[in-house]
Amino acid sequence: MKKIVTEAKLLLIGIPVAIWTLLPIYNLFIFSISTKNEAFSGKLWPDHPTLRNFEIVFREEHHFLGHFWRQLGNSLVIAIAVGLLTLLVATTAAFAISRLKVRGGRVVLNCALLTYFIPAAFLAVPMYKAMGTYGLLNNQWSLILAMVTIASPYAIWVLKQASDKLPFELDEAARIDGASPLQLFRLVYLPLMAPSLVAVGVYALLLAWNEYLYAFLLLSNERDLTLGVALGLFLSADDSPWELLMTTGLLYALPPAAIYYVFKRYMQSGLTAGAVKA
């Protein structure tokens, strides 16, 4: 009896949590398989589910969707570039600070932490002006570099924490064997850090793919936009094709969700470890 009460209590929490979490996503999904009329009727399941919306999106048959494939490609290229560049910048910095104990490393780490604590929307304004000065506005590099700037502080911090846990005897042994710093980096450090590197790379990639504000400020040519910003453009019309907006939105939301689930194990240990330790 006591057991049933416990289970009932758990369900009483679990069901509202599930509804709360899934309702907006379910709404998104329902729109994508409904005709416009059915989508607007507020039904919980359409009478005649259809894949027509996906067909329209894939064939770019609406003027809002003229560059769908190109914009999807932009999102992908930018996300991958940010992931790789962040890895490069953060891994080398964390190695120099944590293993080589470079002079000034502490200061650089604190600078990175300080950057991490600037609210993103506040940094966006001066970043936009600076990109203008550099002549990078409307160039995808501006978005890539801005996202690397935002992603790398946390990346460095997580990698430094993970790196500090590796035994220093490894470094000493490598030194005695006459290894150069680069050999230590390549042959000892990188393989041992692999799980954290995956976590950090995926973190930066998802951050860039999901970003709206910076992409919206820094890019304006329709052919250069990421899919997220293109979705925002739908709203400028009075009579927005909501069912197509939702379909595109669903397609845009699927890759990061899939990537997250594939790398979930790495992500959770890597990303929560830092926070709990704090």
Partner: protein
């Protein structure tokens, strides 16, 4: 690291060892990124914000005063609500059941997917005529539901709920990790001594979690100050610019080509940001 040793044996002027040289080389990429995309922009931004006239103009803009109030409300209500729910929900998710494991997998979705599709979906759900919420209200009560996004306080509350919806999974995950770090023996011993659930929470869970809870709250406050999406994508600052927060207001000025005002807005948020950042820096940089 060891200054006292150097003092005893003043080392002969060391030339840069290979290892130190490589350290500097490997550190250089981030230092360049930091200088070019943080130091210069921030310095330039502060330079733009130097005119007292900007602050007079801000003080005269009723939207500014409104958004200060909105921002403070957002911090006080949305974050505390979110953190308390995250703390309690983490207690639910640490139960070992197969269905709870599956639920936790789904629960992470709002955080893992991009803001724009889901927030636009919520925006449509709140549409007074066609949104699913008002249609349900009409079916159940035969009365029209409220015009959710057309009233300042209602719209701001909805923006807060969007914020909670979006970031609750992340903080719950953090709280779950915190709970799992508490030794099981403590609960077993308390159970033997006949402690109630509440007493276990009060005397075991909370003392072990309070530092994490406080740090998370502060960190969430800093990030929430920069949460542009929850407000902008849901209400666009409307109705009549009444739901702006400082983050969206800064961007609004920027889009209106009033960069001085945008930077002044951000400078005005500094009394809020700096103490929080100081706290976090003290905590993390040891």
């Amino acid at each position: 690291m060891l200054p006292h040793i150097d003092a005893v044996h003043p080392a002969p002027r060391r030339r840069l060892s290979t290892w130190q040289a490589w350290g500097l080389v490997l550190l250089a990429p981030y230092v360049v990124v930091f200088a070019v995309f943080v130091v210069y922009p921030v310095g330039y931004g502060l330079w733009l914000a130097r005119h007292p006239a900007s602050y007079v103009a801000l003080a005269d803009d009723p939207v500014f005063a409104g958004s200060v109030v909105n921002t403070l409300l957002f911090l006080a209500v949305a974050i505390n609500l979110k953190m308390i729910v995250a703390l309690l929900l983490s207690g639910f998710f640490v139960n070992t059941r197969t269905w709870i494991k599956w639920l936790s997998v789904l629960f992470i979705l709002p955080w893992a997917v991009p803001s724009i599709p889901t927030i636009l979906s919520i925006r449509f759900m709140l549409n007074p005529e066609w949104g699913v919420i008002n249609q349900l209200i009409f079916r159940l009560t035969a009365e029209d539901g409220p015009n959710w996004l057309n009233d300042r306080w209602l719209a701001l509350s909805m923006a807060m709920l969007v914020h909670v919806w979006k970031s609750l999974p992340f903080w719950t995950m953090i709280m779950i990790a915190g709970r799992l770090a508490i030794p099981k023996e403590l609960y077993e011993a308390a159970g033997v001594d006949g402690a109630s659930r509440f007493q276990q929470f009060r005397f075991i869970t909370w003392p072990s979690m309070q530092t994490l809870y406080l740090t998370s709250t502060i960190l969430s406050m800093i990030w929430t100050l920069g949460d542009f999406n929850s407000v902008y994508l849901l209400t666009g600052g409307g109705p009549a610019d009444l739901t702006h927060i400082l983050a969206t207001l800064g961007i609004r000025y920027l889009r209106l080509d009033q960069v001085d005002l945008a930077m002044a807005t951000i400078v005005c948020a500094m009394p809020l940001v700096l103490p929080l950042v100081y706290f976090m820096m003290k905590r993390l940089s040891r």
